[in-house]
């Protein structure tokens, strides 16, 4: 029943005819076009992205029936700035790097505004409490807290020190403001869900309700008759391959009749309608008949010979073994051999923006797919194969993306949306519900890791026998390659006498597991670094000294059998950790000695522990050793840079334009970056494995240097002087020795065109000469190292653990943008904290955000970041890869801290209160038995 409703919206009176029980969120976004307010969950109030202010109070607009705002004042992010003049909070968010993907930003800004309006000088704890209902997956909250402090100080009129913040114009190594952050703090950034196209159709996905079944029959006739339904697409309608190309072997796009569905959420059909309501009405009418098959979520069970087959060729997907030295002798002659078994949980990325795709036919008739993705050119090929089209007839564009962490590498939603547009010739939009995202998007592989590690009398590591079983879930999703990455973690950055490491990826009926920050390395690193802590504790050796004594040195043979082919200084990283480690240990000792004294709440049973963990991480991966970028002098005299380094929040847009501006010797506003559009940009390889800055950055620098040479050479001819004395000043090429000699970039562009020279040049980064024929290992041996120290408090009676402080030390080679590098690390620390303490996807049970617990601001420890800069040999300006490495040591450092606090070992994560208490009880029972 609709009625008239009047309220004040961002200072303007509005009057609407609307059903008062509709969510305010929908009315703001769909009726009023204010898309700055974001939708992150299924209207359950679980994420906070939709926060708006009603009469100055922060509320969830997804839970607010719009009728409740009658006569009230509503403020959304669009109303925060005063015209073009930003609110101090918006300004501060820009300056402190508090905006990464930007999807949580509007909700964060409004929550922060409400806080500062009632408390102009909040403490850190008050800020964390206020933010604790707004999830952020990128920043780790720390930069948001910095932003609020800065804005609060400015509003109060206090003198502020902004030494640590960014500026719009700053070169390599300085803090540079993100090029896309302004749009994100004002609500103007257009994510996929914010775009509505004329005649756009909506897509719903019919998914298997069974974990394992054979699809017998599919009857869509009743559903197709629903008013507003345009088409229902099944596997029979696909013009080309029913698959996901090279991304996932034998995973169909839509399950064929007589084929199996191997997980709940496996897609069976697409329902396409004019409205979402029509789609929702029709979806339950699609009749799918299944024969239910036995299922298992347990990889150890699925890998047994007599297990029920899930994969077409059995349940073993991929396998990798590294063997060198005499492992048997090495272990047999060791002073001690440690046997450990560790287990990790399945995890969901929970990017705040769900999987969202828009597709349409562009002006050239190409099937155009707009979606967050890691490799638009691969997605283009996959979609073309399914549509039986030439890849040139498919275009993939990466828009502003609300986080990925690897999850959006799955090309399924892109291909599916492409199919809809191709078959209907209409624009279409496919957006997963949060529930679908939990059911069907790729997860992190749960591991079981078994070690036998030998140690000599001198405390030197001898043999490493490791067995890893990675649960790859229902489909490949590149789980085939996981074993190789598992071995990176199980070997670690240490010297061994002999190694025998075997890793296998195994099909189960879990959701498919795919890429997730660190791709297969964090789980086995956790197992190794915790095992090393057990060794140190048992031998009563300092954990830092144990690692230093055994640390891999540059040029020496690594666990993987070959040396690192980049600068590598793990010892320096560990040494940099030493002061913080000692300080945090002393604090903990003091705390534990004092407990009982301050027994106000009878909480004397709290104990503090400090954990250390190190890591190495292989960045850059195999595959394209040669990547490409382009640079162009536009006819109006500005520069265009073309590359394909999708930015889903990690900041590649900014880094690429920084590198380009630096290479060209111009300011950043002269550089226009065109990124990740297959119709416009060259293929710069996959954006995974933390390789964007190193690989694509190098290609961008190369293209810009080549272009600069051409521009300067042309100017030299035009000015009749030597190119050595020329440089670019603003939009002119000027002679350094005679300022009267100059020519505009625009004239140079005209001259180049007149002479028939192309305005666009290539830049290539090719690593293959670094590994001449025969010497090239199977995977590029570029590694970074890092170490984290975590101080944890545990309630010994309930098992609740809380991380107080983390010090994160990382060799980044050279920080191109230190503010962003720090932001990546803080985000990585908190994501690692989630893996350590709270995050666990239980197959068959976890269905959405209310069942899955990423850390909130309340869980945030104080994080100190120490950047170690051991410049790389080949990276641009000495940079190395960082994005994934920074979460790897966080989890084991925290778990080692918990173990040191409770005096018992946890060998399964997350360390829920229940698991921690069980470990404490087991120790206590053990002591009783003795």
């Amino acid at each position: 029943v609709s009625g008239y409703l009047a309220f004040s919206l961002n200072g303007t009176e509005v009057r609407l005819c609307v059903d008062p029980s509709r969510p305010l969120l929908d009315v703001l976004r769909d009726d009023l076009g204010l898309t700055g307010t974001k939708r992150g969950c299924d209207y359950e109030g679980e994420c906070g992205a939709c926060t708006v202010l009603i009469d100055g109070r922060p509320v969830r607009s997804c839970l607010t029936p719009v009728g409740k705002v009658a006569g009230r004042r509503v403020l959304t992010v669009e109303g925060l700035a005063d015209g073009e003049c930003l609110h101090p909070l918006q300004q501060a968010f820009l300056e402190t790097g508090a905006v990464q993907c930007g999807f949580c930003t509007p909700g964060m800004l409004l929550t922060a505004k409400a806080l500062l309006d009632r408390n102009p000088d909040p403490t850190r704890d008050e800020m964390l409490e206020a933010l604790s209902g707004n999830l952020c997956r990128c920043t780790g909250y720390e930069s948001i807290v910095r932003a609020i402090s800065l804005a609060a100080a400015r509003i109060r009129g206090d003198a502020v020190d902004v030494a640590d913040s960014v500026s719009p114009e700053s070169s390599i190594g300085g803090g540079t403001m993100r090029s896309d952050a302004l749009a994100k703090v004002t609500g103007r950034a257009r994510f996929v869900e914010d775009v509505v196209l004329e005649g756009m159709l909506h897509v719903g996905v019919i998914r298997s309700p069974h974990h394992h079944a054979r699809l017998l029959q599919l009857d869509v006739t009743a559903a197709a008759r629903v008013a507003g339904i345009v088409r229902i697409i099944t596997s029979r309608d696909l013009p080309g391959d029913n698959g996901l190309g090279g991304y996932s072997r034998d995973e169909p796009l839509l399950a064929p009749c007589d084929g199996t569905v191997r997980m709940r959420g496996a897609p069976v059909a697409l329902v396409v309608g004019e409205t979402l309501e029509a789609v929702r009405t029709a979806a339950p009418l699609v009749r799918a008949e299944y024969e239910v098959l036995p299922h298992t979520f347990d990889a150890e069970e699925a890998v047994r010979e007599d297990a029920y087959p899930i994969g077409a060729g059995g349940n073993l997907l991929g396998s990798e073994r590294v063997q060198w030295g005499d492992i048997t002798a090495s272990l047999a002659t060791s002073e001690r051999v440690f046997h450990t078994t560790y287990r990790t949980a399945c995890m969901e990325h929970t990017a705040l923006e769900r999987e969202s795709v828009l597709s349409y036919l562009d002006d050239d008739g190409r099937v155009t797919i707009v979606a967050g993705n890691h490799e638009p050119h691969w997605a283009q090929d996959y979609a073309a194969a399914t549509l039986a089209l030439d890849p040139a007839d498919v275009r993939v564009i990466v828009p502003p993306t609300g986080g990925s962490f690897g999850g959006k590498q799955d090309p399924w939603p892109l291909i599916a949306a492409g199919v809809v547009t191709y078959l209907t010739r209409h624009p279409a939009r496919l957006i997963y519900t949060r529930n679908e995202s939990f059911d069907a998007s790729p997860k992190r592989h749960p591991y079981r890791v078994d070690f036998e590690i030998g140690v000599s009398r001198e405390g030197l590591f001898t043999g490493n026998r490791a067995r890893v079983i990675a649960n790859t879930g229902a489909y490949d999703a590149q789980g085939f390659y996981i074993p190789s990455y598992a071995l990176v973690g199980s070997g670690g950055a240490y010297r061994w006498q002999a190694v025998d490491m075997l890793a296998q990826s195994v099909y189960t009926n879990n959701p498919k597991c795919g890429q997730f920050r660190g791709f297969g390395t964090p789980q086995s690193t956790f197992a190794l670094e915790c095992t090393l802590d057990e060794i140190a504790e048992t031998l009563d050796v300092d954990p830092l000294e144990l690692r230093l004594r055994n640390a891999l040195r540059e040029g020496k043979r690594s666990a993987l059998g070959y040396p690192v082919a980049e600068s590598f200084d793990y010892c320096r990283v560990l040494e940099a950790a030493r002061p913080a480690y000692r300080r945090l240990q002393e604090e903990a000792e003091a705390f534990n000695a004092r407990r009982g004294e301050r027994d106000v709440l009878m909480r004397g049973r709290h104990r503090m522990g400090v954990g250390l963990a190190g890591m190495w991480y292989r960045f850059g991966k195999s595959g394209a050793l040669r990547v490409e970028a382009h640079a162009e002098l536009a006819s109006d005299g500005h520069f265009r840079v073309f590359c394909s380094a999708p930015d889903y929040g990690q900041g590649t847009n900014t880094v690429m334009s920084q590198l380009a501006a630096e290479a060209l010797g111009v300011s950043r506003d002269l550089v226009e970056l065109i990124n990740a559009d297959t119709a416009l940009t060259p293929d710069s390889g996959i954006q995974g494995a933390s390789r964007s800055t190193y690989w694509v950055g190098n290609a961008v620098c190369g293209a810009c240097r080549n272009l600069l040479l051409r521009v300067i050479a042309t100017a030299a001819e035009m000015l009749d002087c030597s190119p050595e004395v020329l440089c670019i000043v603003e939009q002119r090429v000027v002679c350094r020795t005679d300022a009267s000699l100059s020519v505009s970039l625009e004239s140079i562009a005209r001259e180049l065109t007149a002479m028939g020279h192309p305005l666009r040049v290539q830049g290539i980064f090719d690593a293959s000469p670094l590994f001449p024929g025969g010497e090239r290992p199977e995977y590029v041996p570029f590694f970074v190292s890092g170490a984290h120290v975590a101080q944890v408090i545990v309630d010994l009676r309930t098992g609740e653990a809380r991380v107080r402080r983390v010090v994160a030390i990382h060799d980044v080679g050279r920080a191109i943008n230190p503010v962003d590098a720090r932001g990546q690390i803080e985000g990585g620390v908190v994501m690692g904290l989630g893996a350590a303490l709270t995050e666990e996807y239980i197959p068959g049970i976890t269905r959405g955000l209310s069942d899955y617990y990423p850390p909130t601001a309340y869980d945030l420890p104080e994080i100190e970041v120490i950047l170690v800069e051991a410049p790389s040999r080949h990276g641009p300006h000495g940079a190395k890869g960082l994005g994934e490495a920074c979460m790897v040591p966080s989890t084991p450092a925290i778990i080692n801290g918990v173990c040191r606090a409770i005096g018992a070992r946890l060998r399964e994560i997350p360390a829920t209160p229940e698991r921690v208490l069980a470990a404490i009880d087991a120790r206590w029972e053990g002591e009783q038995a003795v």
Partner: protein, 289 residues
């Protein structure tokens, strides 16, 4: 208005559960009656004996209310435990009680405070102990299509009374509790014996639960550590929690119940004793002046 609609209209306050409930087809009202605009329902009033909280008062209002911590120390952390701040600004204490979930922080603390609710319907207006409205998981005796709770009241602080709150959860905020616990103890001002105790817990039964035998065990004796521990173990015996793979097993829940009860009781007893000391001091000062 509710009568006019004859069952098709439903009262809402904060409304945080209304949209999810409609989405899950729990019910489909034709009319929602928002009571948060009624000025009298938005106040927290302190009378001589009672503190009276209007049905439109949100948890954030409670947290912002001066003097509440002194009156009922358990209420403040309980209010802070509901959802997260963005939800506390919308959700009302009354709504939390009417939703009647076995783990509801607001319902558990209301039980411990021995709160009463004022029910208004076609029959009239009456006060009723909050305990009498809970019937089952998500079900209470209040019919929101014909009845309304207008106020919640609980007794003001007096010498010898102390309350406390404890909660364990998978994460510090934005999550349901594994176990929560609110207690109230009343000390006899003269002997310092326990005159009465209330121990409320969730989710350990189909509805917000009181550990009656644990309460009884405390009554009448001096509050020794042995008494507290005995009560804590009795509370564990009475509780019948379920396993939930997303939060914790029955075993874990059972093992932390005595911990929470013991800690909450000890804290509440400290507060109760403090209140007696403060009162004595005040009396001294009054005499001296």
């Amino acid at each position: 208005m509710l009568q006019q609609w004859r069952g098709a209209a439903r009262v809402i306050a904060g409304g945080t559960d209304v949209l999810p409930d409609i989405r899950r087809h729990k019910w489909q009202p034709e009319c929602l009656v928002d009571i948060t605009g009624i000025p009298e329902l938005g106040d927290v009033r302190f009378s001589a004996e009672w503190i009276e909280v209007g049905a439109a008062v949100t948890f954030a209002d409670l947290l912002a209310c001066d003097g509440l911590e002194r009156e009922a120390a358990a209420l403040v952390p309980a209010a802070r435990s509901v959802g997260a701040p963005g939800i506390q600004h919308q959700a009302t204490w009354m709504g939390n009680i009417v939703q009647s979930m076995p783990a509801a922080d607001g319902a558990i603390v209301a039980l411990a405070l021995e709160a009463e609710v004022c029910i208004v319907d076609a029959v009239g207006t009456r006060w009723q102990p909050v305990e009498t409205v809970f019937t089952g998981p998500g079900v209470c005796t209040i019919d929101p299509t014909s009845q309304l709770i207008t106020h919640i009241r609980f007794p003001r602080a007096r010498p010898g009374v102390g309350t406390a709150w404890r909660r364990v959860a998978r994460r510090a905020t934005l999550v349901l509790p594994i176990v929560n616990c609110a207690v109230k103890v009343v000390l006899n001002p003269d002997e310092g014996d326990v005159a009465a105790a209330v121990i409320a817990m969730g989710p350990v039964a189909p509805r917000p639960f009181r550990a009656r035998s644990a309460e009884a065990a405390l009554r009448g004796g001096p509050p020794t550590q042995e008494m507290i521990e005995a009560a804590a173990w009795l509370a564990q015996e009475e509780a019948d929690p379920r396993s939930n793979p997303l939060r914790a097993s029955r075993t874990y829940r059972l093992s932390v119940i005595p911990v929470l009860v013991e800690e909450a009781l000890t804290l509440a007893l400290d507060r109760a004793r403090d209140s007696l000391v403060v009162t004595c001091r005040r009396a001294d000062t009054a005499e001296g002046g």
